[in-house]
């Protein structure tokens, strides 16, 4: 600790504390303009200059660390005069367009001028401000308003890792310029801009900041679930903001959070119920639904009815959905797209580690000494995870290992990039485990304490044939050893894995291999973490609520706990239950006659053609959605649901925090909150008048499950997200799993995955992300492109065993030769038609189109 006095008051602070931070502890206010807590200090504005006894020049408080015994003065006649004069300099040629400036009312420059009583101008100079930059997409730059504080530059570089913004030119002509090709359009430059320099084009001139109502909410585009404020005027969203303080995302957002909200305002939204493609009243829609359910039940039994729910829905909605099916309809044929990914991972992690979801908070990634990103692209799947990786590996000294079939945005920051051959994930995980053993990097003491089947673990590891691993993965021994050393030598290891693992056809086995590696690397200790990513917003809430046939809410096995729920719900729960594949088969076999699609679109399921054909056969197709799609066209009953902004409820993040959504605007047209629809149907089918409220659902949940701690429901304040019961594995509870399957990918492989700017198919209804990424491009290596004779931008035809499509080629060496990558988000590109059932990768043939 270091002791010093500031304005005569004594304080003791840790070393490396700045004078500014020390002053704040004493409640001494030192004015700042360029200082931003979440980035390294810049010291650009010089407003925070203070005097230190014995130092014959002013020192800036924001970037000067304390020293034992110093005497600091923050206010003196000279300092006050200097600060004022520096402000006058800053204001030389600053335009007087405050009335129409977007920052008007929330401008730090205005505020500080007011605070420092800057009322005159003693300087003048030629106005050499560069012209406004209009040609960047989504963001406008007005250099004349810029005070060159570099907040935008630093956030872009240090937090986002995009490195797009930089200072161009010299002297007073200097301005913030952008390497446009590097920009990821996260909007954080706009958020941190203290003046009206960086402007969101969609927001410009639309509203005055003080006229906006800020509704605390959660971005549900991905499971990072950043905490946001929906800025509303009337019944319209004007922008989304996020505070640095008090949010788990430190105020940072991605393109989805910052710009992606605009689908909510899209005029194409479904706003009235339909029956047989005709607009009807809710009453008619409900009656039709109830009549159809009862008719089919009486004719074919409840097992002829099935439903698929969605990670787009809240916890409460998913709870109601499964209760509607199990208790009111009497069918356990419920599932979701989790079947093609998250459930495979869940099965493996639960079995090996007793873990359902991530083992620790996202912030532990930021403190890791080594981060292994395996088969995941955090920049696309969960950007907040990427920000934590930057924190760990760039702001701190953590090392980054990336194991992926492709090169990622993160690759340039990696200490080790293991570009493995498609399908060799198990071999790679095994190989890394074996090298941890061979190189003496296993913590034997920990393993014997934590692992139940230690002898089996050793046997399995000893059986790993490294030669085969090298052949299967296509990697060099040195590369693997280097990666193993990084992981093995770290105290705190974070392992992140994603869609390439969970969504592939051997997702369970591959997840088990990762679970094994997590055991061996010590990632499951308190300071480490294992983080399965699933890019869908409330995937964890969906799983928590038991919307799959094997499980009731709270991961309670269906058969074993059926009676408990029957008693609680006053009904008899049905036996059996089909999963998504069973439902699909059932439709094709004519056994499923009514299918309820709640906020889910099978066009993005693997083998989507098969799904679409099946949907045509469904006698009563019920679709509850927000946009008209090819699926709603097939539906008998269309129920217009709402977006996250129009409903309240709770959602659960990938790191097991439960956060509340607050209704920011009224539903569009006659659309209803999804949970209201479920509740209404439940009441009508169960023939009892029921009232559901959020608190009644949550208290029912807490009676029936042990998902949440008590703390969860004490506050409604979104600034205090509650935690699910934290993961605390018992001694000797880990099972090292035998993973014996393997696959060999033959021929050219097509991998489908998430786009960098789009989220599910929803964001393809939002103009801003569409401006950045208007269509799905087929990423192909230059050698493969040359072999088939296509150039960048040419049409390319892809054909697999299940379908074919034509799209535009994007020639890039971020995909290796032999691998093609395409985003699944674009229904037009329709890449999911080519995927076999339950898979994200297929052999494919190429042709020029």
């Amino acid at each position: 600790m270091v002791s010093l006095t500031i304005d005569g008051k004594s304080v003791s602070v840790p070393e490396e504390t700045t004078i500014l931070e020390a002053a704040r502890q004493l409640d001494i206010h030192i004015p700042t303009l360029c200082w931003l807590q979440k980035v390294t200090p810049t010291g650009a504005c010089r407003i925070c200059a203070v005097e230190i006894e014995g130092v014959d020049r002013p020192m800036t408080a924001c970037d000067t660390p304390v020293k034992e015994g110093i005497k600091v003065t923050t206010q003196s006649e000279k300092l006050i005069r200097t600060r004022k004069q520096i402000m006058e300099l800053i204001l030389v040629n600053h335009p007087l367009d405050c009335p129409v400036c977007d920052a008007g009312g929330e401008c730090s420059l205005q505020n500080i001028c007011y605070d420092l009583d800057v009322t005159q101008q003693s300087f003048k100079s030629e106005n050499v401000n560069p012209d406004t930059i209009d040609e960047w997409p989504l963001i406008q730059q007005v250099p004349s308003r810029c005070i060159l504080c570099e907040k935008c530059v630093k956030v872009c570089h240090e937090i986002i890792g995009a490195d797009a913004l930089f200072i161009n030119d010299k002297g007073d002509r200097a301005f913030i310029d952008k390497k446009v090709e590097n920009c990821v359009y996260c909007g954080n430059c706009v958020s941190v801009c203290p003046t009206g320099t960086m402007i969101s084009k969609p927001f410009k001139f639309k509203a005055r900041p003080w006229a906006l109502r800020k509704v605390p909410s959660v971005c549900t585009y991905c499971p990072s679930q950043c905490q946001i404020d929906i800025n509303v005027q009337g019944n319209e969203i004007f922008r989304v903001t996020s505070d640095d303080e008090g949010t788990t995302n430190n105020g940072n957002l991605c393109i989805g959070g910052f710009f992606g909200y605009s689908y909510v305002n899209n005029k194409a939204r479904l706003s009235e119920p339909q029956v047989n493609q005709e607009l009807v009243s809710w009453e008619q829609a409900f009656e039709t639904f109830v009549a159809d359910v009862e008719r089919i039940k009486s004719e074919s039994g409840a097992e002829a009815i099935a439903g698929l729910s969605s990670p787009r829905l809240t916890n409460e909605e998913n709870y109601l959905f499964q209760k509607l099916f199990r208790a009111a309809i009497g069918s356990n044929n419920i599932d979701s797209e989790a079947r093609f990914g998250a459930l495979q991972t869940l099965r493996a992690l639960d079995k090996g580690l007793g873990l359902r979801g991530a083992s620790n908070l996202l912030s532990t990634i930021g403190k890791a000494d080594a981060v292994l990103v395996f088969g995941a692209d955090p920049s696309a799947e969960a950007p907040a995870v990427e920000w934590q990786i930057h924190e760990a590996t760039r702001r701190k000294d953590g090392k980054l290992v990336i194991a992926n079939m492709r090169q990622l945005k993160l690759t340039k920051f990696a200490d080790s990039q293991l570009t493995y051959k498609p399908g060799s994930e198990i071999a790679l995980a095994d190989g890394l485990g074996r090298l941890l053993l061979d190189r003496g990097l296993l913590d034997e003491k920990y393993l014997s304490k934590a692992v139940a089947n230690l002898s089996e673990l050793k046997k399995q590891l000893a059986a790993v044939d490294l030669k085969k691993v090298l052949a299967a993965t296509g990697l060099s021994r040195e590369a693997l050893e280097h990666a193993a050393d990084i992981i093995g030598q770290a105290n705190n290891v974070a392992i992140i894995f994603g869609a390439d693992i969970s969504k592939c056809s051997l997702g369970t086995a591959k997840s088990a291999a990762i679970a094994n590696l997590a055991i061996l690397s010590g990632a499951l200790r308190d300071q480490g973490g294992l983080f399965p990513l699933d890019e869908k917003g409330n995937m964890h809430g969906l799983l928590d609520m038991g919307v799959y046939p094997e499980s009731l809410p709270g991961f309670q096995a269906y058969e074993e706990n059926k009676e408990k729920f029957s008693r609680a719900w006053g009904c008899q729960l049905p036996a059996g239950g089909l999963d998504a594949e069973g439902i699909l088969q059932g439709i094709e076999d004519g056994k499923i006659r009514l299918l309820y699609l709640a906020a889910t679109n099978p066009q993005s399921f693997p083998n989507s053609n098969r799904w679409m054909k099946a949907l045509e056969k469904v006698e009563v197709l019920v679709v509850q959605d927000i946009f008209p799609t090819a699926v709603t066209k097939l539906a008998k009953i269309v129920l217009p649901g709402v977006t996250f902004a129009e409903k309240s409820g709770s959602v659960t993040s990938l790191d097991q925090r439960v956060r509340a959504l607050e209704q920011a605007i009224r539903p569009v047209g006659k659309a209803r909150e999804d949970w209201e629809i479920f509740a209404e149907l439940y009441g009508r089918l169960a023939k009892k008048s029921v009232t559901f409220s959020r608190s009644s659902i949550l208290s029912e949940l807490s009676d029936l499950t042990s998902l949440y701690g008590d703390v969860c429901f004490t506050g409604e304040d979104r600034l205090r997200p509650c935690l699910k019961q934290p993961y605390r594995p018992a001694d000797k509870s880990f099972q090292y799993q035998l993973v014996s399957v393997n696959e060999e990918a033959e021929g050219l492989q097509l991998l489908s995955g998430k786009s960098l700017s789009h989220f599910g198919t929803t964001s393809t209804w939002a103009p801003a992300p569409l401006e950045i990424e208007p269509e799905g491009l087929i990423q192909i290596n230059s050698a493969d492109a040359e072999a088939v004779g296509v150039k960048d931008g040419d049409a390319l035809k892809l054909t697999s065993g299940t379908g074919s499509t034509i799209g535009k080629a994007m020639v890039t060496d971020t995909v290796p030769q032999g691998l093609i990558f395409a985003p699944y988000n674009f229904v037009e590109l329709g890449i999911q038609q080519l995927m076999p059932d339950g898979s994200n990768r297929t052999s494919v043939q190429l042709a020029r189109a």
Partner: protein
């Protein structure tokens, strides 16, 4: 009579305008009379004031131009007072010169000079120093402008250059403040790009540079200098540790070709810069493939300079279109005249690889255990050849090579490794940290001893060396106290191996008479230069006694020389700086048919002779964070037999950032009116 009319340099005002005759020390000794040998220097304006040689120079116009250049060309705009304040300063001066000024503007200028004390760095801040000096001491000239009086002043041309103390002191003139700042901003890749603009062997000079820059670091006036070298290593290591491809893109290939003799630091550096310009270069190296790097490879042991990292720097240069032909001796496999015929230009950079004789009795006898020299020993050890070393090794010398020898001897399995040096530890020319490293590894030191005679047994095997004790007398030319023998103090140091390591000479036997290339008596290649004299009439020379502004062209047209063979045995960084200039001169010669130095070259030389750093300058700053040192492997085991693992481990990135934040970014702008 003094040739200076006015000087405020060094904050000391000397005003001879009214007929005084006070001499200005700096002008007399440090500055040349001419800029580039022809045009007289009329005035010098910079961070520390104004020196006015010619009273007819329009000081007000010069100040206006100075302020303009600072603001428009050099101000980084990264702080408000600097960005805006120098603009106001520029425009205020322009207004005065344009006849639109008023007296209040003079107060504004002085006020601005005061406000600029608040800048983030000291570029803009010190640019206000000479401006304020002119306002204070040339007020009448200002008032004349303000009153609209026309004055007949001399037309002058301005030469402007930005430098920094460290950058000036660095023989390669690496833009140190910029690369340090990039590290501060977590931009390790950009940092390396900046380094490469003047240092193509960053991994080498991030490790083994004697870093003269750090002796000119202004932070030392606060507490300790910035760890400039290790920050360079940090930037360089970041690239290969993150598997990043170097970003350099050579220009399209040109048709004129260049042969370079020697793949050492000078040859590689020249090839790098010529290749960037698109010139195909062919380097002829006498050692076999895998041993490129010249003295870096064979003179610096791998525990200081890991080979795979050196090789990466060489491979990068090769990948830019430079061909290296190994195992080829000039003068034996191909003559210099043949090279001259085959290529459009030739650069001689053979280095200095021949040990100097020691002058002891028995030296010429070819005794077993008396080795040819330190540099030969290091080379053979590195190449895995038999070195002839026994178990008890004596190395004679006090330089870095001698230290490398004693430390390599341990790693080659010597039981005893003893250094014999005729002065004391304090006078050793070796870098102090190298001596400390040897000490830590168990090297024994015998100071104040002079070997006189080699002692052998009947099999002509060395068994010891007879030495005489020395004592220090009066200081010699180098300022070190001259050692003198103590009569009758002869004694014998037992050893089975004796290695002389008292210095190296270039081997220039390949430069035959027919070339007409003259060679100095120190066995270096003579190159053409621009003669510069100080006011006191002395020739301006560099630290090695060579003429200050050398063109690096030999007596044979189209043949240039660089590196140790041109400068005299020095350092990697000196060779790189010298070779960079050679590359630029060669390009001019190839493209314009004449070899010459530019204004920028002259300005660089003038500043380095002047010396930007002033160790007595009072630098007010809070010394809250002390210098961060790199991690290092400690203990004798690091020098165990066969252990050539790197001893110094560099910085963690976060430490590098903390260290970089200590930098005061001391850019300075110099303007010369000619």
């Amino acid at each position: 009579m003094s040739q200076v009319a006015f000087s405020s340099w060094g904050r000391q005002v000397i005003d001879n305008r009214q007929g005084g005759d006070v001499e200005v020390e700096v002008a007399k000794k440090k500055l040349p009379i001419t800029f580039g040998g022809e045009k007289n220097i009329a005035a010098f304006m910079g961070w520390d004031g104004l020196i006015l040689h010619d009273p007819n120079v329009d000081v007000v116009a010069m100040a206006a131009e100075y302020a303009k250049r600072v603001q428009e060309d050099y101000c980084c705009a990264k702080c408000s007072p600097g960005k805006k304040g120098t603009r106001v300063m520029q425009d205020t001066l322009a207004r005065i010169v344009g006849g639109q000024g008023n007296e209040g503007d003079l107060d504004t200028l002085l006020n601005l000079a005061d406000l600029l004390q608040n800048c983030k760095c000291t570029l803009c801040q010190t640019s206000a120093v000479p401006v304020a000096d002119t306002v204070k001491h040339f007020r009448d000239d200002y008032l004349a402008y303000i009153r609209g009086e026309k004055r007949d002043k001399k037309a002058v041309e301005y030469k402007v250059k930005m430098t920094a103390h460290c950058q000036d002191k660095c023989p390669a003139h690496v833009d140190i403040p910029a690369y340090v700042e990039a590290i501060k901003e977590l931009r390790f890749d950009e940092s390396l790009e900046i380094i490469r603009e003047s240092m193509p062997l960053p991994s080498v000079c991030g490790r083994v540079c004697p870093h003269p820059c750090e002796t000119a670091c202004r932070r030392a006036n606060v507490d300790k200098p910035i760890n400039i070298m290790v920050l360079k290593r940090t930037a360089s290591d970041y690239e290969w540790q993150h598997n990043l491809q170097p970003p350099m893109q050579p220009k399209p290939k040109k048709d004129k070709t260049i042969a370079i003799v020697g793949a050492g630091p000078a040859g590689l550096a020249a090839a790098y810069y010529l290749a960037l310009e698109g010139y195909p270069c062919t380097i002829y190296e006498s050692l076999p493939e895998g041993f490129g790097g010249g003295m870096i490879a064979v003179g610096i042991p791998a525990y200081r300079m890991p080979r795979h990292i050196l090789q990466r720097d060489i491979d990068i240069i090769s990948s830019m279109g430079v061909e290296i032909i190994y195992d080829t001796h000039i003068g034996k496999d191909i003559t210099l005249m043949e090279l001259k015929k085959k290529f459009d230009a030739v650069l001689l950079a053979p280095g200095a690889h021949k040990s100097k004789p020691m002058g002891v009795e028995g030296e010429e006898e070819g005794y077993n255990g008396f080795l040819a020299g330190g540099i030969e020993f290091l080379r053979e050890a590195y190449m895995g050849k038999p070195t002839g070393m026994g178990k008890k090794v004596c190395v004679v010398g006090g330089g870095n090579t001698a230290i490398d020898c004693v430390r390599v001897a341990l790693r080659e399995g010597a039981k005893d490794s003893i250094l014999l040096y005729r002065r004391t530890r304090k006078e050793m020319p070796a870098d102090s940290w190298e001596v400390d490293g040897a000490d830590e590894e168990g090297v024994q030191f015998e100071f104040l001893v002079l070997p006189k005679k080699i002692i052998v047994d009947d099999k002509r095997q060395v068994t010891g060396v007879e030495c005489i004790r020395m004592e220090l007398g009066e200081p010699d030319d180098s300022g070190r106290r001259r050692p003198q023998p103590v009569e009758g103090s002869e004694f014998i140091v037992e050893c089975d191996t004796l290695i002389p390591a008292i210095g190296q000479d270039p081997d220039l036997s390949f430069i035959t008479e027919e070339t007409g290339i003259e060679i100095t008596r120190w066995n270096t290649v003579v190159t053409k230069y621009v003669p510069l004299k100080s006011e006191a009439g002395r020739d301006l020379n560099d630290d090695m006694g060579n003429p200050l502004s050398r063109i690096l062209l030999t007596d044979m047209d189209g043949v240039f020389a660089s590196g140790d063979a041109e400068i005299g045995p020095l350092t990697v960084v000196a060779c790189v700086g010298n070779a960079h200039r050679a590359a630029k001169v060669i390009q001019r010669w190839l493209e314009e048919g004449k070899a010459y130095l530019t204004d920028d070259d002259f300005h660089e030389d003038i500043l380095s002779h002047l010396g930007v750093y002033d160790k007595n300058e009072d630098v007010p700053w809070l010394d809250a964070v002390t210098r961060v040192e790199q991690n290092e492997i400690h203990g004798k085991a690091r020098a165990s037999k066969g252990n050539y693992n790197e001893v110094e481990l560099g910085f963690k990135d976060s430490d590098a950032v903390i260290e970089a934040e200590r930098c005061l970014r001391c850019y300075r702008v110099s303007m010369i009116a000619v």
